[in-house]
């Protein structure tokens, strides 16, 4: 199962290497990792998406907790958090199909970031499920390039 682990860390050099090193040294595979600043200058948050059964996730959390620079860890579920990802896609779209893609973009609140004779470049930030769906709907047109950010997540309430 995929878990979203939100890790508050000291905003210091070397912390990312510690966290990333822990994953590689113990053979845990990271799906995505996002690091960013928070409302507190001295605290960063790493949002880590990791696959594994409950036992592995438990061990991942315990090992992360052992790092001196880790302040707090929480497991975020779709139901209790707001989760976002960003994707930018370059899709090959002939002029006759532009309207279709444009409508699709509107439906998903994606932005047309760039356009050329043959291609449209779309940018979308949304919850990861909608993002997946959007990508699937665009696939038949021919996705030439796709880049996706890691996830950010904040607990509700």
């Amino acid at each position: 199962m995929r878990h979203v682990i939100s890790v508050q860390v000291e905003n210091k050099s070397g912390v990312l290497a510690r966290v990333a090193g822990l994953f590689s040294a113990r053979g845990y595979n990271i799906d995505s990792l996002t690091v960013g600043t928070t409302e507190r200058q001295d605290v960063s948050v790493m949002t880590i998406v990791v696959k594994g059964d409950d036992k592995i996730i438990e061990q991942v959390k315990k090992q992360l907790n052992k790092l001196i620079d880790v302040i707090k860890i929480s497991d975020h579920l779709i139901s209790n958090s707001i989760q976002r990802e960003l994707a930018i896609l370059k899709v090959s779209v002939s002029p006759s199909k532009r309207l279709e893609v444009f409508q699709l973009a509107q439906m998903f609140k994606a932005e047309i970031a760039d356009m050329s004779q043959k291609n449209m470049t779309l940018s979308i930030d949304s919850d990861p499920e909608s993002l997946d769906k959007f990508i699937e709907l665009l696939r038949p047109y021919g996705i030439k390039e796709l880049i996706r950010s890691g996830r950010v997540s904040l607990l509700r309430g």
């Binding site: 860390v9 000291e10 050099s13 070397g14 290497a17 510690r18 090193g21 822990l22 040294a25 036992k55 438990e58 061990q59 315990k62 090992q63 907790n65 052992k66 790092l67 001196i68 620079d69 880790v70 302040i71 707090k72």
Partner: protein
Amino acid sequence: MKLKGSQILIESLVKEGVECMFGYPGGVVIPIFHYLYEAPFKFILTRHEQGAVHAADGYARASGKPGVVIATSGPGGTNLITGIANANMDSIPLVVFTGQVSRNMIGNDAFQEADITGITRPITKHNYLVQDIKDLARIIKEAFYIATTGRPGPVLIDIPVDISNSEYKFQYPDKVDIRGYKPVYEGHPNQIKKACSLIESAKKPVAYVGGGVILSDASKELRTFIKKTGIPVTTTLLGMGSFPETDPLSLHMLGMHGTYYANHAVNESDLLIAIGARFDDRVTGDISSFIPEAKVIHIDIDPASVSKNVEVDVPIVGDCKTVLREINKIVKAPSISKWIEHINKMKEEFPLTYDKKSKGIKPQFVVEEIYRLTEGKAVICTEVGQNQMWAAQFFDYTEPRTFISSGGLGTMGFGFPAAIGAQLARPDRRVVDIAGDGSIQMNVQELIVAVEHKLPVIIAILNNGYLGMVRQWQQLFWSKRYSHTSMAFSPNFQKLAEAYGAVGLTVDKKEDVEKAIEKALSVKDRPIVIDFHVDKEENVYPMVPSGKSVKDIIIRELA
């Protein structure tokens, strides 16, 4: 008053009560050594940085105080790696200082530059690169705190040379406040109650005790616990000495080369009480067939060790000493007289033994003689391999911190420098390094350090002309193809000792063993090397082959 970074370092060590430091100088630490010259604590100049870090490790294990080490940048730092990893695996508190090139040169591939914080990140409990002189005193304070609290371990501080040379007001902090590091010492009262009720109703309980009991200084509490409950005790390699092996309830060591009765008792148990142990693969063997019927209580200060390898029924996260003290207040003894009878029968039937009638010198006999002639009071250090296992099996340890051995990492070359550290920590005891002819050669250069400081460490080489443990595996599992395990070419250890100014003895007759050890014990002002020419193909038994279960235990040589 403003002090230089170098002086701040030394003043901080004084504040920490450091009595002994181990190390080796070099370019970027000259400023620090400049002030070490007048430091009010002992400085031991080893002949290799690896020797320094192992000596500090041995000092820490023998004394219970953190070991303190310094080395220069680049090769100085990289030479420490094995020793740091060794301390990390066995949870030994070390504070390690390395010099670094000056801040404006970092990343430039400068002379003797290595990214030592990067290299040591996975093998330290924590590490620091000092980037501002105003952080130096706080970092040192934190390093000692982190190294010695919770599950202990090595902490490294990398100090650029320009930081050592710059000046700042010295004020050593009184307190440490690290928001991400709050080790839990008290066990949860409900968990403790649950554990006690499991203990009281157990029919076949065994206490499985690890190095955590020694690290938390809980040997007394453990003995009280056993006295109150009458539960038999087995220890890991690193747990030896926490409970007297002379006690009828001692099952001695368990695991790959543990006793038959310890391994069988654990396997048949209905309750395993793990105290400061981590279910290492050398203990469990095949994990899927380990303790098929037992419930597990696990007391450990490291939450990540609990339910890592084995599912635990009652986890108690906390310090062994504190938790055992609470347990001792309420626990009641189970009725297990039948169980004890059964165990005693196994003890009688399958004791640790060897061919005592052999004409040649059996290595086990040498260990037994050391035990007898030191009246069991020696501090024993070991190298790694057969010598280590025989030292574990044939010497009855009764006190904590008297058996010093590289457990987790299994580092050959650890024992002798560790013995130097142990002898410095325990001038009141004889320290004996039980060595092999292979491993002693890995750090033999430190002999001169023992000579210089008049340390009467006895190095008992169980010389069988082989890298014996690997040879044993080759014999048993690799069709006796002794690929590159012969040590037929070795130096004359007696002459080597004499060249260093130590006493050298060679023993090749069984009847001379006693005399040689007595002679060694009579020397009080220098190290003594005894080269025991032991039976070449003696093996360590019993043996649970790697990855197998207790059912596959090999009790002795197959015909």
